[in-house]
């Protein structure tokens, strides 16, 4: 069984097609691994029967000409994606027991591609968090531990369940969503790959909204190739999302190439910041050498507004969230607090009982920056700075084809170690600028720090150039030789 769960999606796909094993054997191996990994708290709901049913369909269809790309592959789905008839709660008490009567476009695309579902993956409440500690289901425990320690570590967030599931081999690949680093930071924390495509590549329809101008779905898996395979199945134009890009989905997997000759890689000087451990800056230097070895020429670039990206994000994202989350009123779905007299009291009591502390904090910030008298000083100002951040990238990309940075300013930290909200927000200091500019970006594991914990390298590409991001990711992967896996303790 273990042999199957240690494979990549590409290996599972090819092995299934070649008849080395059946799709049912794949599904059974993963269902068993999922059931045996409850201590990680990665899944909020498991759907073994779904994985098996899809596997049976795949087994019957094996050998046919038009076998879809993910036939026989069971996946984990972040709890932010609406899945028909299966609990979809965004990690929030306020969506307790919510069972959508519809399927998100991204998961519908994955189903069309033949994928089955192993279950829904735990996450920070409404994707607000960088440690998966704000979930109503409790924190996900990372499968990784520091050398010689059994302290529970966070898998990062908000796609923490997604990241832990891939690292623990209880899903071969998963969906994630990234508003300000929620795919890339957890991928780095657990030593896997994760890509956020250009804003608009994946439909947002049926994904519980956090900050609509930033939210973007993406894929997480063991390898760059697997991320490409999954993303190809997830992406595509959707008339139901007004910001969906009406463009064909490129053949990212077929065009993968680690040959970067003639390409220039930008190294932003503003990303050398104080307080980042030496291990991370050393890995960054190694990454530059790996890309040089692949044929790319490093060039120093400047992204002058980098230090303003996080404060900009923490105005825009809460503002959009306060507006999006206004829908949770106890009337149409989810929790309702009874025992109050008026309709207004029912709204306020429901939201007080249904939202966790971080969500309340962000809704309050968002309400404040959008309120009469403050709107221009905060929200409009942030949108102007966001325009400058986007302009920084546009200028930088006149000099280079991709940008290389570290993914996160630290390795995974312990559960309960970071209690100050501002300190938590700093986790996304390297990830947020690309989100504000809508650019494709991915994290690829580069090595281990002195405590034996994974560190990630972060590639940012031009608008719509996921291929360059994946290619640079592949070049890093081929040279980093990252094969470390967490020792099984769960």
């Amino acid at each position: 069984m273990n042999e199957i769960t240690s494979k990549t999606i590409a290996e599972l796909r090819d092995g299934f097609r070649d008849g080395d094993f059946t799709a049912s054997e794949i599904a059974e191996a993963y269902n068993a691994a999922v059931a045996a990994a409850k201590l990680l708290n990665a899944y909020t709901v498991t759907t073994p029967e779904d994985a098996l049913a899809c596997a049976e369909v795949a087994d019957k269809a094996r050998g046919s000409e038009d076998l879809p790309s993910l036939a026989g592959i069971p996946l984990g789905i972040k709890d932010l994606f609406a899945t028909k008839g299966v609990d979809t709660t965004a990690g929030s008490h306020i969506l307790k027991d919510f069972k959508p009567t519809y399927e998100s476009t991204v998961t519908a695309n994955l189903r069309k591609a033949g994928a089955g579902m192993l279950g829904k993956l735990n996450m920070d409440e409404f994707a607000m968090g960088s440690s998966n500690e704000t979930s109503t289901y409790g924190p996900v425990i990372s499968p990784w531990r520091r050398k010689g320690s059994n302290v529970g570590l966070t898998p990062g967030g908000s796609s923490g369940g997604s990241a832990a599931a891939v690292a623990a081999e209880i899903a071969p690949g998963v969906t994630g969503t990234d508003t300000g680093g929620s795919i890339r930071q957890p991928a780095a924390f657990v030593g896997i790959c994760g890509i956020k495509p250009t804003y608009g590549r994946c439909s947002r329809w049926g994904i519980v909204s956090f900050a609509s101008s930033l939210d973007q779905a993406g894929s997480m898996a063991k390898t760059v190739r697997d991320c490409a395979i999954l993303l190809e199945a997830m992406a595509g134009f959707d008339p139901k999302d007004s910001t969906s890009l009406d463009l064909p989905v490129p053949k990212w997997e077929a065009n993968l190439s680690g040959d970067l000759r003639g390409k220039r890689v930008g190294i932003p000087r503003e990303y050398r910041i104080d307080g980042v451990p030496d291990d991370i800056n050393l890995l960054w230097d190694k990454g530059i050498e790996w890309l040089k070895d692949a044929g790319a020429e490093p060039v120093e670039i400047s992204l002058p507004h980098t230090k303003y990206a996080l404060p900009t994000y923490y105005i825009i994202a809460p503002a959009e969230a306060s507006s999006n989350l206004a829908r949770y009123d106890g009337v149409r779905y989810g929790l309702r607090e009874e025992g109050v007299k008026t309709l207004d009291d029912m709204y306020a009591a429901t939201r007080a009982a249904g939202f966790g502390a971080e969500v309340k904090r962000r809704v309050m910030i968002g309400t404040y920056v959008l309120s009469a008298g403050f709107y221009d000083a905060y929200f409009t100002k942030a949108q102007r700075v966001r325009a400058l951040i986007k302009q920084d990238f546009a200028r930088a990309f006149e000099q280079c084809d991709m940008i290389l940075t570290p993914t996160a300013p630290s390795a995974a930290f312990g559960i309960g170690e970071t209690t100050d909200p501002l300190a938590m927000y700093l986790n996304d200091v390297f990830a947020v600028p690309a989100s504000l500019a809508g650019l494709p970006a991915m994290s690829v594991p580069g090595g281990l720090d002195e405590n034996g914990l994974p560190l990630g390298l972060h590639v940012i590409g031009k608008e719509l150039d996921e291929q360059m991001v994946l290619n640079a990711g592949l070049a890093i992967e081929e040279r980093a030789g990252f094969t470390a896996r967490p020792e099984k303790w769960w």
């Binding site: 910001t243 009337v331 306020a348």
Partner: protein
């Protein structure tokens, strides 16, 4: 600029989140720390910069002005905490 407890209470009312006095007192310094931190954007010269509204340039699409969905009342009501006679039910609004 810092927010007072009274302002926090006002924001909570706007956000329709019930909060006790203790919660307001705990939240006010947290919000002040965050607001103080985001105010560093004041340093940035944004004269003549248009606020960014669409991160990837694209035109909003138009479609034919026709009914494209509907006839799914039971689906819409399926997750309602209280639904009666084909409607959402809420506490009495008018005495």
């Amino acid at each position: 600029m810092s927010v007072t407890n009274e302002q926090v209470r006002h924001i909570a009312r706007l956000a329709r989140i019930a909060m006790s006095d203790e919660e307001i007192e705990r939240l006010a310094p947290e919000l002040n720390a965050i607001i103080g931190w985001v105010e560093q954007l004041g340093e940035v010269n944004t004269d003549g910069i248009e606020p960014l509204t669409a991160v990837i340039d694209q035109k909003l699409r138009l479609r034919e002005d026709a009914v494209t969905d509907g006839d799914c009342r039971d689906d819409v009501l399926a997750n309602a905490p209280a639904a009666q006679h084909g409607f959402f039910a809420v506490p009495k609004v008018i005495e």
